[in-house]
């Protein structure tokens, strides 16, 4: 029997093979463990942490927008959505029972809730939205399986749609989309914090798990310069005129001349603040604050600024005369008065009272184009007012410097407010400059910001001295004489007021002017002895009667009378004051 000698070697080879395989396997496993535990430790540790730790952004309450006396125009309150896990409502009988209970609290029909849960293919769906605190507490007390409350916030408007364009609105995420809500979103929104917590398999927070929170900073409350009473007065007046005159829209701006604080700003057409529909393209135009985004040709109201320039330059005085032949020829163009009248020898006061285009062209000629446009720019036309409101446009002022196509006739037509485009806010602020001794103020919409770190007042800012105080005083007196001639249309009991009306053509999209369409406006100051209010009333395309004196001036009178009484401004006529207590 031959003895196989190599058997032990074969055995050893196999053993070593097995050991080798095991060793390699162990080595691979060890290397893999080194990779997992040491090299990629932080990555996997983070993944593991994310599997059982949640981190969510938390926000504190959004700040409120208050009127100048502290009345809320927009504020936030907690609201709650009822969330249902679809898995918890798989049993029809249980689902119906739970839906019936919820329906009694939320007012949403049970069938509708069941339908939402059946049709939406996500883990959890909202079946009722925007519940108030009492409703939310009742739902919480039901302690239904698979039902929880998701806390959020909704914007509320205690004064309804007051100052809707100025305030703007927020989106579903609570961030401002338009108006001051968007422009001051960072102040109103505060700073987000983070909440980190351990969660269970269903994503719910563990009651005894680790929990850490970086608290959110609450948003600041913003006190506006808007006065809710005067704002409402202006809105009611504008709505009334638009309805009476079947007008397309309009704007009213009320400014406190000494500070530049805007007390009221309203534009029409408006919109419902509580239901803005951003998905409908056709409604986008409604959200525009036309007092700053839309330009127009101001018409005869602009004669105030032309006269200011001539007075300030010392070229004329109220009793300076010139001969009105009824027509002025410039560059071959004939400029006539609005009523085609020829008035003979006239004073500057008469030119303003009768609103003669020929007189305005004469004054612009006296000033010369460079000086005339310098004053136009100094009054703030052709540049944004830096109001801080987004969407503000600068208007269009063509000058020899910025337009090679400019001709002398342009200065002549610009002098009576045609061929020049401005925003209502620019006109209101320029008017305020006349009422403020010739000093142009920056329009101010925010009075102070009240936040967790304290109160930050916003101080009025003077932009520049446009005309001398003497020229401004002279013009105010002339404006008073102008209004004296409108006594059929303006009655401000107890106060002397001044102003100037305007009736302007509207440019068409094809160039030229729209036939039969006008903008009626009135720019006025009250009271004349110590102006507290500068008011611009602008009505777009009134039907039948286009004249600013007839359409817009009466509104100015009504607003001024009520606003001055509300502001406790003593009447100019002492007979009205009954006594001192």
């Amino acid at each position: 029997m031959p003895v196989p000698r190599k058997r032990p070697n074969t055995y050893a080879w196999r053993i070593w093979t097995v050991i080798g395989v095991i060793g390699i396997g162990a080595g691979v496993v060890t290397l893999r463990l080194i990779q997992l535990q040491i090299i990629d430790h932080s990555q996997y540790a983070e993944q593991a942490r994310q599997n059982h730790v949640s981190q969510i952004a938390v926000a504190d309450r959004r700040g409120a927008l208050l009127d100048r006396n502290g009345y809320p125009l927009a504020a936030s309150e907690d609201s709650y959505n009822v969330m249902v896990e679809r898995g918890a409502w798989e049993n029809p009988a249980d689902a119906l029972s739970a839906a019936n209970k919820l329906s009694g609290i939320t007012g949403v029909p049970a069938a509708e809730m069941l339908d939402i849960v059946d049709t939406v293919d996500v883990y959890e769906v909202p079946v009722a939205k925007n519940l108030d605190f009492e409703q939310a507490t009742a739902v919480r007390d039901l302690d239904l399986d698979g039902v929880r409350l998701l806390e959020g916030a909704k914007r509320v408007y205690p004064e309804g749609n007051l100052a809707s364009h100025l305030l703007g609105f927020v989106g579903q995420d609570g961030r401002g989309l338009t108006g001051l809500e968007a422009d001051m979103n960072s102040e109103l929104g505060g700073a987000e914090g983070t909440l980190t917590f351990e969660r269970d398999g269903l994503g719910r927070e563990l009651a005894i798990g680790d929990r850490s929170e970086t608290p959110a900073l609450p948003g600041s409350d913003i006190v506006l310069t808007i006065d809710r009473y005067i704002q409402r007065l202006a809105e009611q007046e504008l709505d009334k005129i638009i309805k009476e005159r079947s007008a397309q829209g309009g704007s009213i701006i009320v400014v406190q001349p000494k500070t530049g604080e805007v007390l009221a700003m309203v534009s029409r057409p408006g919109f419902d603040l509580s239901k803005p529909d951003t998905s409908d393209e056709s409604k986008q135009a409604l959200y525009r604050n036309r007092a700053i985004t839309d330009t127009y040709e101001p018409g005869s109201v602009f004669k105030l600024f032309t006269t200011s320039a001539a007075l300030d330059m010392g070229k004329v005085a109220p009793d300076t005369t010139w001969y009105d032949s009824g027509v002025v020829k410039v560059d071959g163009w004939a400029i006539r008065n609005w009523d085609f009248s020829a008035n003979g020898t006239q004073t500057v006061q008469q030119f303003l009272s009768k609103s003669l285009n020929t007189g305005a062209a004469w004054l612009a000629g006296l000033c010369g184009p460079d000086a005339f446009y310098d004053y136009v720019h100094r009054f703030g036309f052709g540049a944004p007012t830096n109001s801080g409101l987004s969407g503000e446009v600068e208007g269009k002022v063509r000058t020899p410097q910025n337009d090679p196509g400019w001709r002398s006739v342009d200065a002549a037509t610009n002098s009576f407010g045609q061929g020049i485009s401005v925003t209502p806010l620019q006109v209101a602020m320029a008017l305020s400059a006349i009422a403020n001794g010739g000093t142009l103020m920056k329009p101010q919409f925010v009075k102070e910001i009240i936040g967790p770190m304290g109160t930050q007042p916003v101080e009025p800012q003077a932009v520049r001295q446009v005309i001398s105080p003497e020229a401004a005083r002279t013009l105010l007196d002339m404006m008073g004489v102008v209004v004296d001639g409108m006594s059929n249309y303006i009655r401000v009991n107890g106060y002397n007021v001044g102003g100037k009306s305007g009736t302007a053509n509207i440019t068409s999209e094809n160039g030229g002017y729209k036939g039969g369409a006008y903008i009626s406006s009135f720019a006025g100051v009250a009271p004349l002895n110590d102006p507290q209010l500068a008011i611009l009333v602008k009505i777009d395309e009134p039907k039948d009667v286009p004249w600013g004196t007839v359409v817009a001036a009466p509104s100015f009178g009504r607003i001024a009378e009520k606003a001055l009484a509300y502001m406790k401004v003593p009447p100019t006529e002492p007979a009205l004051v009954k006594g001192v207590q």
């Binding site: 936030s76 205690p158 004051v577």
Partner: protein
């Protein structure tokens, strides 16, 4: 005999006390083992209580917010106007008379009031309780 008795006595004494010591030690170890549990339970209870109090605070804050909004709604010009006309049967004045009153009007209340300082709050004197008690003692 005395030399024999002493070690015997010592051994018997140890024999009697050792089990007691062991039992005591076991109990001590057991109690010590329970301490973290008790501590953990205490932490859990306190944590639950804090969570409950936070929930209560949150509820009260929500109630306060709702009340503030409600106050604002009730004070809105639209509602005041409606109440004046419909409930109080008031009509707009046809003639306005002015009376000069030499007293400033009251400052309006601000709502929401979260950033407005409480005027009724007593100013902080900066003294601790002990300092206040010490201040009562008449020191010459």
């Amino acid at each position: 005999m005395a030399t024999q008795h002493r070690p015997f006595s010592r051994t018997r004494s140890w024999g009697a006390t050792l089990p007691v010591l062991l039992i005591c030690a076991s109990i001590a170890v057991g109690v010590a083992g329970l301490l973290p549990l008790v501590q953990s339970s205490g932490v859990t209870t306190t944590g639950g209580r804090i969570w409950q109090l936070e929930q209560e605070r949150s509820d009260w804050q929500a109630r306060l917010q709702e009340q503030e909004v409600q106050v604002a709604r009730l004070g809105s010009l639209e509602r005041v106007d409606k109440e004046a006309r419909e409930r109080l049967k008031m009509v707009p004045a046809k003639e306005v008379h002015y009376i000069t009153v030499d007293v400033p009007g009251p400052a309006p209340n601000r709502v929401p009031s979260r950033f407005v300082e409480d005027e009724a709050k007593q100013p902080d004197t900066g003294q601790s309780l002990w300092e206040e008690i010490a201040s009562w003692i008449p020191v010459p």
